[in-house]
């Protein structure tokens, strides 16, 4: 049901039954490497092309998630999936292998939480029994679509983020588990005029700010109601901007905030300002965060996945970058 201006409260009980995470080699070497279900040793991920590589990541993640949950494929009502590539090719090509309904979504890097929010809402409506929320991104497919050929020797500035290679999937249903999806806040498209495609942290910070403030207002909550407020990929540039704007608005998240893009790599992994891409928030949330909720180290987490709705043609036409952020509340449940 609608909660406040932009939020949904899943009052009928929506749960994440299982998740699966699949990463590339660089992510495996990062601090959260041991939390992933599977990691490919090479960036090609057993594919002949980069696009096939990304499909292999997503396909592996959705298959693993279904396997882990034990839910038969014909019982799956719906897949809600999206990625960064034109026409969402990764998601649509992977969905060819399933006999379920498919809802394709695009929210740039916010797709992880957008797909989870939509899947949860459709479970909460009690029209569907099982839904799979999934997303992926790949360094090389994103580079070639949004920026330059991977081997091009142009110098990147320190504000650049590095697209995370990986995929994450979550099976959502009304069957109780330790992880409850309590609610979601659907973001507005926010544009503060940032127009540098190599500095998406700065562009996305206002969108994340807007969603976090709206979330706290809609649910009438305080920052201390959360053990962790996680943003998707604001990087080392966008993170301090987010904190500063929130602080000015009377919201201090310093002690509970972390950014997936800063958690996924070691600082010496040459990733500039941090990780980005749909898989940044998907890998951290569906791996590390879910494990922490299960073990009881965390009780309530707000994941705010941030997306720069970037289009190279619009940038060449001197337009700015509109951004969006979607928040989902994950709560440890003892209902099981």
């Amino acid at each position: 049901m609608k909660q406040g201006k932009q939020s949904w409260l899943f009052q009928n009980g929506v749960y994440i039954n299982d998740t699966a995470t699949v990463s590339g080699p660089k992510e495996k070497q990062g601090p959260l490497g041991s939390t992933f279900d599977y990691s490919y040793e090479k960036l090609h991920c057993d594919g002949k092309t980069w696009e096939q590589a990304e499909q292999n990541l997503l396909s592996k993640a959705t298959n693993l998630c279904m396997e882990k949950s034990g839910v038969r494929e014909d019982a799956l009502d719906l897949i809600v999936s999206g990625d960064l590539l034109n026409q969402n090719v990764t998601s649509n090509y992977v969905a060819r292998n399933y006999s379920s309904s498919m809802l394709c979504v695009f929210g740039a890097c916010s797709t992880s939480m957008e797909s989870l929010a939509i899947a949860s809402s459709l479970i909460n409506s009690q029209d569907n029994q099982f839904a799979l929320a999934a997303t992926s991104s790949h360094y090389a497919t994103a580079e070639r679509q949004f920026r330059y050929p991977t081997e091009y020797g142009g110098q990147k500035p320190g504000t650049t983020t590095s697209t995370v290679t990986g995929a994450g999937a979550a099976l959502v249903s009304s069957q109780t588990s330790h992880i409850q999806v309590e609610g979601a806040t659907i973001g507005q498209v926010i544009d503060y005029g940032a127009n540098d495609p190599l500095d998406m942290g700065s562009a996305m910070a206002p969108a994340a700010t807007n969603t976090i403030i709206q979330h706290l207002t809609d649910f009438n909550r305080q920052v201390h109601d959360y053990d962790l407020i996680l943003t998707g990929d604001l990087s080392s540039v966008g993170t301090p901007i987010l904190k500063k704007i929130l602080y000015q608005s009377g919201v201090d998240i310093e002690t509970v905030h972390d950014d997936c893009g800063l958690m996924i790599y070691h600082q010496d992994q040459k990733i500039f300002a941090g990780g980005s891409g749909c898989a940044s928030s998907a890998l951290v949330t569906y791996g590390h965060v879910i494990q922490q909720l299960r073990s009881g180290n965390l009780n309530r987490v707000l994941v705010v996945a941030t997306g720069a709705l970037l289009n190279p043609t619009m940038i060449q036409q001197k337009e700015s970058i509109p951004c969006i952020a979607h928040g989902v509340v994950l709560k440890r449940s003892d209902a099981i």
Binding site: E151, Q155, T159, G193, P240
Partner: protein
């Protein structure tokens, strides 16, 4: 106070500044070294084949292009580019890298629509403006020569 109206200005302290002096020095050193290699090749061709300095120019450039294309294929040139910036982008090797990297990138779409169509994606603008600039300079020189009658 950070607001929508002053956003671009007020977030500047959070954006890492490009290290201009350091980048200039790196570009100077690497760019210079590439030219030293080029000079070495010229001398080599002059000594080995008895070319004049002018005749040795073309084989020198071709060899540099070959080296840059091979380094691009082995995944080295982009790392050099990140280190050296303009130092490795401005010489002919940077031009070769822009063509070789685009050709490699689009190999997956086939030889015609992939490699051939896309290989000048980045270098095309250099060729266009290079040709236009050469035409204009040539025109000025021709006009000046005609008017001055020399």
């Amino acid at each position: 106070m950070i607001t929508k109206d002053n956003y671009q200005q007020s977030i500047k302290p959070y954006q890492p500044k490009p290290k201009l002096v350091q980048n200039c020095i790196k570009a100077f050193v690497v760019g210079g070294l590439i030219c030293v290699v080029g000079q070495g090749l010229t001398i080599l061709y002059m000594e080995l084949f008895g070319f004049t300095a002018k005749e040795a120019g073309n084989p020198t450039i071709t060899t540099l292009i070959l080296i840059a294309a091979i380094l691009t294929g082995f995944g080295v040139y982009d790392k050099l580019g990140q280190f050296a910036g303009a130092g490795s982008a401005v010489p002919v090797t940077g031009f070769a890298n822009s063509i070789a990297s685009a050709a490699l990138e689009h190999k997956s779409e086939g030889l015609v629509l992939g490699v051939a169509t896309n290989m000048f994606k980045l270098a095309g603008s250099v060729i266009v403006f290079g040709t236009v600039a050469a035409y204009i300079v040539g025109l000025i020189r021709f006009t000046a020569q005609t008017l001055l009658g020399s």
